[in-house]
């Protein structure tokens, strides 16, 4: 295939039935088709029977298009949306356990305030800081903490929603809309 676009990170959101085995179906499809997941976050949606998943996928546009189509092909997947456009709110939560001493503690707290992080645990020689933000913010915070000595990092993976009133994925949306979007996908090849 002619790939005119560069490899980059794309955020894809999927609304799926909340039942056993769904995550397995999705991860199995990614594995089998050789798609790379950079991060994956799953949680309940506004409808108790449906979960919303956010994938960050590495690839060019045609890879992302195939990911979207193969997700759509799964019976338990209700709706898929490519959130790679700029008008998107994306966040992840990270926890950092770092070395600290009475001398460095206040400096770390200052840094944490600048990044709007919270100190959630303090021990004699360590601190745990929580921070939310997009990936770039978390990576820069990590860079700032590195000189103190990072002991552990825990990250949730990205979750994302579109901005504004144009509600992208609505679980109440009629089925016909889904076909329409298949159309647009097909037509964009």
């Amino acid at each position: 295939m002619n790939n005119l676009s560069q490899t980059s990170k794309h955020t894809i959101s999927a609304l799926v039935l909340d039942k056993p085995g769904v995550l397995n179906r999705i991860s199995s499809m990614f594995r089998r088709r050789g798609f790379n997941i950079s991060s994956l976050a799953v949680g309940q949606s506004e409808n108790p029977n449906l979960s919303r998943m956010t994938f960050v996928v590495i690839g060019n546009n045609s890879v992302v298009e195939q990911v979207t189509k193969h997700l759509n092909k799964l019976i338990d997947v209700i709706k898929v949306l490519d959130l790679s456009s700029e008008n998107v709110i994306s966040r992840e939560l990270a926890l950092f356990r770092i070395n600290s001493s009475p001398q460095t503690r206040s400096e770390i707290m200052n840094l944490s305030n600048i990044f709007r992080g919270n100190v959630v645990d303090v021990a004699r020689n360590t601190m745990v800081i929580e921070i939310t933000g997009d990936e770039g913010k978390i990576v820069s915070f990590e860079e700032m903490l590195r000189p103190f000595g990072i002991i552990e990092i825990m990250r949730t993976g990205t979750i994302a929603l579109k901005r504004g009133m144009d509600i992208a994925i609505n679980s109440q949306q009629p089925k016909e809309r889904r076909n329409q979007s298949n159309w647009e996908e097909a037509a964009s090849v």
Partner: protein, 564 residues
């Protein structure tokens, strides 16, 4: 009405119009078996190996267009189905697979004959279910048939723990399904249809590349109308064979790795490729980036994920071919394409790929051609995978849909025996010929006993070269004739094997015996094995080596004294 899980399964099958099930019992599925006598409308065919059950259900589905049903017990029963399920998935065949599972409380304990059936079959089914409550059975059965037989068809597996089969619950078969995540688009987007019609009207060298989708969607007449109205030559993929009458003046045959040269060349020459119900398999495209580079492409398929997967296309249309081609046919103008058609005739005469050289030796191509003549092209042909399959695709002329049944995408040797059994059950009034390789035949020949027991009169033509012929051919071409593990030094005597199965066996070693043997086989009221001892080192031509282009095609060498 309260029923047991087993009774619900049987009731649901009857509601779905199922009349035959291929299967083999075992502990976990026994409750279902013990219920069967209550449902005489369900014919059960007891196979010798579960792979046979899955392939037979597949052959049945391809011969009839209805979903085929196979069932098996847990553990090895389920894993033996796997080759058949993968074959059906690759070739878009609607199957319903039902497997027994250990009782609910034992799941996860590594119980006797426990295996993670839904886990194993997840990537090779269109969808699968593990049913944990008998009350879910009616809904699951309804959904399974709906999913298997609509959109792009495929296999659906239902795993039923033994105690769910024994549990009682209220039975009411649903009339509709509620699947918010599954609603295949069928109509085709109007503006895309207009774009496609405009391209067809403007094209001076169009060609249709028709696949299995035409047969699945019963769009035989729509394809014929499109071809005839605009005088567009029709090329068919391996699984598209029989979607367009091969005796038609516009038929160009099969392209690709072992396709006829003029079809591959016509694809290259064309300025417009109308790809319908096919998926640009590597056996056709060779090297996708160098495939049919002179043409714009219209790709019509019901599965959006096939569009743009292998080849970039200008006009994608997602929809059911019967509907979409019907709409396109109303928008296109009559055309003659005189110059283009004469160019194709020229390709045909310059590259005669189907000539059989004149020799006293018994050539496999000759056997197939005689089979076509003797059956008047009216039988259903089922094949395995390899050289015999390619010769059967090339040298028999198919004119009616569903008369050509073969394992395409997954290339499963051994399909020819149970696949033919299922096809014969689905098409009882037809003569079904299984064109078999001696290798594939021996993988599944146990099912001959099943056919004898159940009066399934399949005729077997074993193209016996004592070799795994296609692999041997690759060794000849690409591995300096280093024949590693491709020669069967001690094949059984297939006519004696026929005798052991209590059926007729005929051995053919000379050309003049071919026709009488075929006629005798068709006269015999039961299964027959005809063992054609053919030239050992015969090759399939033309050949485009894997991953290469039409420029790398090897056509049949001129006959020499040595091979005459």
């Amino acid at each position: 009405m309260k029923l047991t899980g087993s009774q619900m399964v049987c009731e649901s099958l009857i509601q779905e119009g199922v009349d035959v099930i291929f299967g083999l019992p075992g502990g976990a599925i026994l409750p279902l078996y013990q219920t069967l006598p209550e449902y005489p409308a369900l014919r059960h065919i007891l196979v010798r190996h579960e792979q046979g059950a899955a392939h037979a259900a597949d052959g049945y589905a391809r011969a009839t267009g209805k979903p085929g049903v196979a069932w098996a017990t847990s553990g090895p029963g389920a894993t033996n189905l796997v080759t058949g399920i993968a074959t059906a998935q690759m070739d878009s065949v609607p199957l319903i697979l039902i497997t027994g599972q250990v009782p609910r409380a034992a799941i996860g304990s590594d119980a006797f004959q426990e295996t993670d059936t839904t886990g194993i079959t997840l990537p090779i089914t269109k969808h699968n279910y593990l049913v944990m409550n008998a009350s879910d059975i009616p809904r699951v059965m309804k959904e399974a048939f709906h999913i298997a037989s609509t959109g792009r068809p495929g296999p659906v597996l239902i795993d039923l723990p033994k105690d769910v089969l024994q549990e009682s619950a209220e039975f009411k078969y649903p009339k509709t399904v509620n699947l918010p995540g599954y609603k295949p688009a069928t109509g085709g987007h109007p503006s895309q249809i207009t774009k496609a019609s405009t391209l067809i009207n403007q094209s001076s060298k169009p060609v249709i590349l028709a696949g299995h989708g035409i047969i699945i969607s019963n769009a035989f007449n729509e394809l014929k109308t499109l071809a005839e109205k605009a005088q567009i030559p029709v090329i068919t993929t391996l699984l598209g064979i029989s979607s367009f009458p091969e005796n038609h003046v516009l038929s160009v045959g099969m392209p690709g790795m072992h396709g006829v040269a003029y079809a591959s060349l016509a694809l290259e020459e064309a300025d417009l490729l109308i790809a319908v119900g096919m998926r640009f398999d590597d056996r056709i495209t060779g090297k996708p980036s160098a495939f049919a580079t002179n043409s714009k492409k219209i790709h019509i398929d019901i599965d959006p994920s096939e569009i743009g997967k292998n080849v970039k296309v200008e006009v994608p249309i997602v929809g059911d071919l019967k509907i979409v081609l019907g709409k396109i046919n109303t928008k296109i103008k009559d055309n003659t394409h005189k110059q283009w058609l004469s160019q194709i005739d020229e390709l045909k005469s310059n590259h005669p790929s189907l000539d059989i050289r004149d020799t006293k030796k018994l050539l496999p191509q000759y056997v197939i051609k005689e089979l076509w003549k003797a059956t008047k092209g009216e039988s259903v042909i089922v094949t395995g995978v390899g050289q015999h399959q390619m010769w059967a695709a090339q040298h028999y002329q198919y004119t009616e849909p569903r008369t050509w049944i073969t394992s395409g995408g997954s290339g499963a040797m051994g399909f020819e025996v149970p696949g033919a059994m299922g096809a014969q059950v689905g098409a009882p009034s037809k003569v079904v010929w299984s064109i078999a390789g001696d290798g594939g035949f021996q993988m599944t020949m146990g099912e001959i006993a099943t056919m004898v027991e159940n009066n399934i009169p399949v005729k077997f033509a074993i193209i016996n070269n004592g070799n795994l012929g296609m692999v041997r051919q690759w060794q000849e071409f690409f591995y300096k004739k280093d024949y590693v593990a491709t020669i069967y030094k001690n094949n059984p005597d297939f006519t004696k094997l026929a005798e052991a199965f209590h059926i007729l066996g005929i051995r053919v070693t000379r050309k003049d015996q071919v026709k009488p043997a075929i006629l005798e086989a068709m006269d015999y009221p039961g299964p027959v094995i005809v063992d054609f001892i053919v030239e050992e080192e015969e090759n399939v031509y033309p050949m485009i080596p894997a991953g290469q282009t039409v420029n790398d095609m090897v056509e049949e060498p001129r006959p020499t004294k040595a091979n005459l």
